[in-house]
């Protein structure tokens, strides 16, 4: 039962992007199209789950003082795997995500879950925590990149939706990312305040 809670909390109650406000840098930068959003979400989820499991498994052997470098080594290993796989099988996505794939190493969600959760909980809970947080992050990316792709480019999944719609280019640019997330956060806080 507890494991299930760890899984579900990442989706809405402790959503990494909208509630914990972690990992906003790649979140804002790559959310231009749904394809990019899903790519980023899956990559981050993979790294998150694997690093959570490994760090939770070796937590008793890591000296407290140098735990952050140790986490980084574990995380960097999985990020390297992700990047090489992505380069081999989906070079276009790799080009679109650019520097933000290697930057998953210092992604606040991954490091944050390692420090706040995996280093204090057992492997099973850490696994579920990683899956939940990863899915939560991916869903948030899906939402914001869907909004930005539609308003900023007039497309969904790279397909034109309405012919006569003239997209607002600014939404596809960096200010658009900040605007959309600000409005979404305001909207979520409004709903939360109503309850």
């Amino acid at each position: 039962m507890k494991s299930l809670n760890e899984l579900i909390k990442g989706l809405i109650k402790e959503n990494p992007a909208f509630v914990l406000m972690l990992g906003l840098c790649p979140f804002l930068a790559v959310s231009v199209s749904i394809a990019n959003g899903i790519g980023m979400g899956v990559a981050a989820t993979f790294v998150l789950v694997c690093s959570n499991v490994i760090i939770s498994a070796i937590k008793n052997f890591i000296p407290a003082r140098i735990r952050i470098p140790c986490y980084i080594v574990v995380i960097a290993t999985f990020v390297t795997i992700t990047e090489l796989v992505m380069k081999a099988y989906s070079p276009a996505l790799n080009r679109a995500l650019g520097i933000y794939v290697p930057l998953i190493v210092v992604n606040c969600i991954v490091l944050g879950r390692a420090e706040a959760f995996a280093s204090k909980n057992n492997v099973r809970d850490s696994l579920f925590d990683g899956i939940g947080m990863g899915i939560g992050f991916t869903l948030a990316l899906l939402l914001i990149s869907g909004i930005r792709e539609f308003l900023g480019a007039g497309k969904l999944f790279s397909l034109t939706v309405i012919k006569s719609f003239e997209p607002a280019l600014v939404i596809a640019m960096p200010p658009g990312a900040l605007l959309v997330i600000a409005l979404l956060l305001g909207f979520f806080n409004l709903i939360k305040g109503r309850k």
Partner: protein, 322 residues
């Protein structure tokens, strides 16, 4: 409520001024420039102005209704935002351009920050920046006054692209016989409205004077053929400088309150405008200059805090007295 005793510190002076009174006066002072724009560009200009004003007022009313705030659409601030936005647009744009611009200006730039008096940036200029970034192809096509549907570049755009074949007579620039945004072209009409505001004391001379003088001096010094060869009068009369300096840089909410602050603000706007015009990517920089200085306003306020009445001057007070 009215029976309660209100205790305030002296001096007690009653003023007939109020927010609605000032706002409506500014709106009235903007009308000559708009009328000139409609005369020069025809009905499309009037249509654009009307859409922008109506959308701004309606948006403000809806937001205040939804958030259950006091309805203050009659204070004139929303219609002023709509007017200023429309004055910053080319005449012949599709109707949804001024509508979306006004909605963005009122909803995001004004009410998301807490409403009148709370906004960091001038709402009308934020609306314009949003439109320029989103639909540049509509915002950079200008019609030539007097000729229906004949498009032409603005004098500043021609200067930027090196296509300014012959000198445009200063009189044409002064009267507004050139391509440009609806409210920025007719300098005479703008000056008439601005003069009234200055006489009434609703705006002080500091920001407009320092803004315009800085642009003049800067563009004169860094001229096209070497130092001190610039056509300063052309730079002052073209673009949105007069409209921006008198009606937008002087916005109470987004500019510093002290005279010293005003001067710093105006000089900053002037330098940024000139730099954008001379070396930047855009032909015109007034709106971005004002927005950037809006962001710097809290900093200017910190450095220009007035001395509290009755306290001594910090350094000189002891030295001169003895």
């Amino acid at each position: 409520m009215n029976n309660r005793l209100t205790v305030l510190s002296s001096p007690h002076l009653h003023s007939r001024e109020s927010v609605p009174r000032i706002m409506w006066t500014v709106v009235a002072c903007l009308i000559p420039a708009g009328a000139a724009g409609v005369y020069l560009f025809g009905m499309p200009a009037l249509r654009t102005i009307a859409w922008a004003a109506v959308a701004a007022v309606a948006c403000e009313w809806i937001i205040q209704k939804l958030t259950k705030k006091k309805i203050t659409v009659t204070d004139g601030s929303a219609i002023m935002t709509g007017l200023l936005l429309a004055y910053n647009l080319p005449a012949d744009v599709p109707f949804w351009i001024p509508v979306l611009g006004s909605i963005f200006a009122v909803a995001i730039a004004k009410h998301a920050f807490g409403g009148l008096g709370q906004n960091i940036f001038n709402p009308a200029l934020v609306g314009r920046a949003f439109l320029v970034a989103s639909w540049p192809k509509y915002l950079t096509v200008f019609t030539k006054p007097g000729y229906d549907a004949v498009t032409s570049a603005t004098p500043l755009a021609m200067l930027k692209e090196g296509r300014l074949a012959e000198q445009i007579p200063y009189l044409d620039l002064f009267l507004g016989r050139r391509a440009g945004c609806i409210g920025e072209v007719c300098i005479v009409a703008l000056a008439a409205g601005a003069l009234f505001l200055l006489i009434r004391g609703y705006i002080s001379w500091h920001i407009p004077a320092s803004f315009i003088a800085t642009v003049g001096i800067f563009t004169y010094i860094f001229g096209p053929k070497g130092f001190f060869t610039g056509d300063w009068l052309f730079h002052i009369l073209s673009g949105g400088l007069i409209l921006g300096a008198f009606f937008m840089a002087t916005d109470y909410v987004t500019s510093p309150p002290t005279a010293r602050g005003h001067l710093i603000f105006g000089v900053g706007c002037g330098i940024l405008t000139s730099v954008i015009r001379l070396w930047g990517g855009y032909p015109e920089g007034v709106s971005y200059a004002i927005l950037m200085m809006n962001a710097a306003t809290p900093l200017i306020d910190r450095f220009t805090k007035p001395r509290i009445y009755g306290t001594a001057k910090r350094k000189k007070a002891t030295g001169t007295g003895v």
